[in-house]
Amino acid sequence: MKKEPIISFENFGFQYTAQAEPTLYDINLTIHKGEKVLIAGPSGCGKSTLAHCINGLIPNSYPGKTTGRLTIGGKDALKLDLFGLSKIVGTVLQDSDGQFIGLTVAEDIAFALENDCIPTKEMHEQVEKIAELVDVKGVLGHAPHEISGGQKQRVGLGGVMVGKVDVLLFDEPLANLDPATGKQAIVLIDEIQKRTGCAVIIIEHRVEDVLYRPVDRVVLMGDGRVLYDGGPDELLCQDLLPRNGIREPLYVTALKYAGVTLTPDMRPSYLPELKLSEEQKRQVHTWFSQQPQAPRPPLGDVLLNAENIDFTYAGGHHALKGISAIVHKGEMLSIVGTNGAGKSTFSKVICGFEKPQSGVLELNGIDLSTLSIKERADHIGYVMQNPNQMISKTQIFDEVALGLRNRGVSEEEIRPRVEEALKICGLYPFRNWPVSALSYGQKKRVTIASILVLKPEMILLDEPTAGQDLKHYTEIMDFLSELNRQGVTVVLITHDMHLMLEYTPRAVVFNAGQVIADKSAAEVLNSPEIVEAAHLKETSLYHLSALCGIDDPEEFTRRFIARDREVRV
């Protein structure tokens, strides 16, 4: 399919003014009209920078030095201004709240039209059409905080599509979406592309989720260079992804563990069309039977007990409808569920941030309602989703020490405790740095350290791995399970099904403010109605085991995970 090119990089390089080294080195990359390309790569490798070059933020908003040529729509992109480019390339940013500019859905979709001075009447008609297309017609009058994360994404897409662009560019469209909503997003993008025939570029490190619909090409980046540029099937047959800190589709990993040699004609990039010979299926079988039984950890006694907690926000939103849940001492538990199901709200209630209208909360049998936020914090540490919302000091050490200083602990006692916490979080080398010099993942660990230093019995993390690549994901999670081994009870709120399976034996499933399941993670994913209701997504391992006629997918998953752990450490 040799179509005419729409974007082409020739020996292209870029260096931010603030940086000592270039961020992009001799990029040679061509995107054709109507093509669908996935750009993957570890955090900090330059994906967003590449995106900025395509949509014109570089050099227009981010100063820096460029080398080589970049041609977009036949013109020299470096000479085009943002507006010229915005006619060709439509960008959907990762931060859907930042992307959502209008006061209401309709106004946001209309934003680009308003800027083009389209008459109001015509504008209303076009907005109707687009709303139809991205399926948000029902909420046109809603304000951003009145719609779900998934809908926000759709609005964002609609907002750039009114421009009738030739290229749609998505920077990490899946971060913070629950699995099913992410799935829908990928399907929507696929449909839009089929209908409009525009080229689509998706930047993601959740490769498997993007491959839910076929892509024409995958570009793998590392340290500002293009490491691979070609068909997805060929890529999955090699081990480039894991070697560069990107998780390859689980079923692919499993097949490799089982010793199956993958070839492009097996179509490994698209599970529904994956072809396995009887011989290969048998290979998987034998591997499965040879793997040792994965152990199931016993449950300790009750630490936290919540009984039909009911909570309604001041705005009148009934966020929690009779939640009951139990956390056992020393366990590692995950809370999963749809966007807006009430997970974060529940954790706020536990920490006393919000007062439930009714229900019982007990910690070690003590009624929590008698304790202040501060007193609860001595037992339960809450790490918010966004580290920037927690960090109030400029120096790492002070930030971690803050809690102790507020509690009047003497300086000579503070120092060792803070340093210990920093060591656990692998931040000791940076202890005298300003927080601003850290990456997102590191900031996240600073906030964890600042909670740990208070020595809570239980630590509650809201989406600790959102937007992190496999490397940082592994860092954070391994360190959390290490804490857990040291006896700290860990509760995770997450949208990552594999995280749930890999690290948390038990899972509590939220849906529309209620607990609809509380069982082993594997069981949860094995019961279709729960998966359906809570917008979850069984991992591809289930399909693989089905494909190979293995009747116990849970055990298969457990053994896979056990093996995967050994390999990764």
């Binding site: 940086q19 000592a20 400029t394 740095w433 300003p434 601003s436 010099a437």
Partner: protein
């Protein structure tokens, strides 16, 4: 009028939103009625230094107007204008005194605080009362008393909040340039 960059526009919008939230929900009641110790002027001073006089003026005007809108006490143009002028003056002072927000140090802080105290006095002791006398025909003595109270209160909060902000911001700025390398 001068054409704003998009970034300045956004800064004004978000700034006004911050100003509103702080003024509307964080105001600490003060002994004298009709006046409250408003944290938002610390913010306003800081934003004016960072984004310039025009941005500062508009943040003050828009933010204060929205506060009056959402409260029941009508729109007090005199005080709204005073807020705007405060932003403007702080912005100008920053330019004149060459306060570079990037490296606000000891010296910068002293400049900052002298400037903000002067601006506050001008706004609450002169501009607001004068406008009130003309627009609402209220007696001087009362206006001066009110002005003095809020002037001092605002200056105090600005000294604490504003200074802390400048320091925090400077810390993020300077280091960022030098440390991204490693």
């Amino acid at each position: 009028m001068k054409k704003f960059s998009v970034k300045t526009i956004v800064a004004i919008g978000i700034g006004a939103a911050l100003f509103f939230v702080l003024g509307r929900f964080v105001a600490i009641p003060s002994p004298v009625p009709n006046t409250s110790i408003s944290v938002q002027y610390g913010l306003l001073a800081f934003l004016s230094v960072v984004y310039g006089p025009l941005a500062g003026a508009l943040v003050g005007l828009i933010g204060h107007t929205l506060i009056d809108f959402s409260n029941g006490w009508g729109i007090w143009w005199s005080w709204i204008i005073a807020s705007g002028v405060f932003g403007l003056l702080m912005g100008l002072a920053a330019k004149v005194l060459k306060m570079n927000e990037a490296e606000i140090g000891k010296k910068g802080l002293i400049k900052f605080n002298i400037a903000q105290v002067v601006c506050h006095l001008v706004c609450w002791m002169v501009i607001a009362p004068v406008l009130d006398v003309y627009m609402m025909g209220e007696p001087w003595d009362k206006l001066i008393a009110q002005g003095l109270m809020s002037g001092i209160a605002n200056a105090v909060t600005t000294a604490i909040v504003g200074s802390l902000l400048c320091v925090a911001y400077a810390a993020t700025k300077t280091k960022a340039g030098s440390l991204t390398k490693e």
